[in-house]
Amino acid sequence: MTDPVIVTSGLGRSFGETVAVEHLELAVQAGEVFGFLGHNGAGKTTSIRMLNGILTPTTGSARVLGLDPMADGPRLRTRTGVLTETPSLDERLTGRDNLTIYADLYGVPRNEVKARVDELLTGFDLFDRADDKVGGYSKGMKQRLALARTLLHRPEMLFLDEPTAGLDPVAARQVHDMILQSTREQGHTVFLCTHNLVEAQRLCDRVGVMEHGKLVALGSPRELGRQLVTNLTVELEVDPAAVPAALHALEGSGLVTSAGQQTGTISVRGASHAEIPDLVIALVGAGIRIYGVTPQEPTLEDVYFALHGEQPATRNHAEVIQ
């Protein structure tokens, strides 16, 4: 494994009495899409500011791409691209002006500015409207332009703060595709702040969950699901004729079961990941042949609610598979 590109140690920031981020311990690997989850005010944006050296931590330290953000902020920011929570575009200027100005600020070589701006405008499907004022753009276009701006200087690492907030599903899908493209084709490391759990599930290799400024969970969505979600639904496929016997065999597990008599599918709700082998052993012990075992992998949404003491079986009580 390579050295992590983001390492924080006890990183914290307070505003007066309010603790925005508390003792953050984090390591993000090069090339991964790291999701930073949490509700509004959980400390995600404050963390991005500290990691880019525009906000001084009150405790702890951080290293990003081998640099200390506070000591080497300007140098670090030539290597990172940040998509802010709001697009932060000058709406009185054209799309082309916005990109050209930021290309100059990021120090893109003068003789490359025009070509790079045109390339990004084309890549983000904005070329035809490049000379219109940004104030007349749709929300999706503004977000695409802001994303194009983060790529102007070809950064090694992207910090994306709520990149699809307020976008319609089509525009959100476009942004997702662009993020995946930038990591797969260009090898960017992505630090993705979001409270959209579906988005995080789709894009992230690992996630950290922030709660009131504290990191309360860290791992891949699958790892977190297995650790935190104890009420899985497991589908067992048996011979339809053996369903009554299978239900009888599973009675001892104490779990809620339901069965589709025609299909031979038995759904067992409330099992933990560790209990799945026991279910199989119970059926095999009763002489029932098993054709399939499919645990429903918990989603990040399940993980998120599990952190708040709500398990899927209780949350989705009405959703019993028939």
Binding site: N52, I54, G73, P74, R75, R77, T78, T80, V82, T84, T86, S88, L89, D90, E91, R92, L93, D97, I101, Y102, D104, L105, Y106, G107, A146, R149
Partner: protein, 262 residues
């Protein structure tokens, strides 16, 4: 210092600011009124003095300091009125222009940036705080100085044309005004900028900032034009006779700084 970044920031701010009618209108209108309309009023001075008589003008001139009054010795009442009005009375009003231009641009640049939520993206660039501040300061100062100097040239032309019939010679360029334009106007622009930077800490919108920042105008403007004269004489060097350059028709009596100070 990264001068490319500073130039870019300045260019960006000016481009953005010039899209705001609330900024462009005062920048254009005030100089037009001060540098064209008001000096052109001198054309009507003879008619005004003949209808009102010379008593009013004499009473007015009696109120000014002896130092300034000495500058008007030997002139006809109309000429004295023109010199008093165009050279001395308008001098402090001229300074409204750099003050106001820097003030209004800084309001849009500092507070407007925050209001439009465009500041954060700038902070995430490699630009340092110092470069960001320098770019914004230059974006407010340079146009204020350029507008003032262009205004001075315009004012000189209009004032000389308007006063030609009464004076029979050019009043401008004028040493007093040269000092004001070269030294005092940039300082006034700096004052307008500084006041707006202080206001911007608390102001939430461009309008708030502009209105609060404008309060600096009555504070800095002098109540009497001869106070400026004495101040400028000290600035320009002891004993300098600012009102009487080679092209001015004032009397040859030397100014008396000590008596001009009130």
């Amino acid at each position: 210092m990264n001068w490319r970044a500073i130039q870019t920031l300045m260019r960006k701010d000016l481009k953005v600011v010039l899209q705001n009618k609330g900024v462009v209108l005062p920048i254009l209108l005030l100089p037009l009124i001060l540098f064209i309309v008001i000096p052109a009023l001198v054309l009507f001075l003879p008619a005004a003095t003949s209808s009102a008589g010379t008593t009013d003008l004499a009473e007015l001139l009696a109120l000014v300091s002896p130092g300034l009054r000495d500058q008007l010795v030997g002139l006809t009442p109309d000429q004295a009125g023109v010199v008093f009005f165009l050279v001395y009375m308008m001098a402090p009003l001229f300074l409204i222009v750099p003050l106001m231009v820097s003030n209004v641009i800084a309001a849009d640049s500092f507070v407007g940036e925050r209001e439009r939520k465009t500041l954060e993206a700038l902070l995430y660039t490699p630009t340092t705080d110092g470069e960001l501040l320098t770019g914004k300061i230059m974006a407010a100062l340079i146009p204020a100085i350029v507008v003032s100097w262009a205004g001075y040239i315009l004012y000189s032309v209009v004032a000389d044309l308007a006063a030609a019939q009464i004076m029979g010679r050019a009043l401008f360029p004028n040493p007093l005004w040269n000092v004001i334009a070269i030294w005092v106007a940039p300082a006034a622009a700096g004052l307008g900028l500084t006041s707006m930077m202080l206001v911007s800490v608390r102001a939430k919108t461009f309008q708030d900032a502009y209105q609060t920042g404008s309060l600096v105008l009555p504070i800095v403007l002098p109540d009497r034009p001869d106070r400026w004269r004495s101040l400028l004489q000290h600035l320009a060097g002891a004993g300098a006779d600012l009102g009487c350059g080679s092209s001015t028709p004032c009397s040859s009596t030397a100014a008396r700084p000590s008596t001009a100070v009130n």
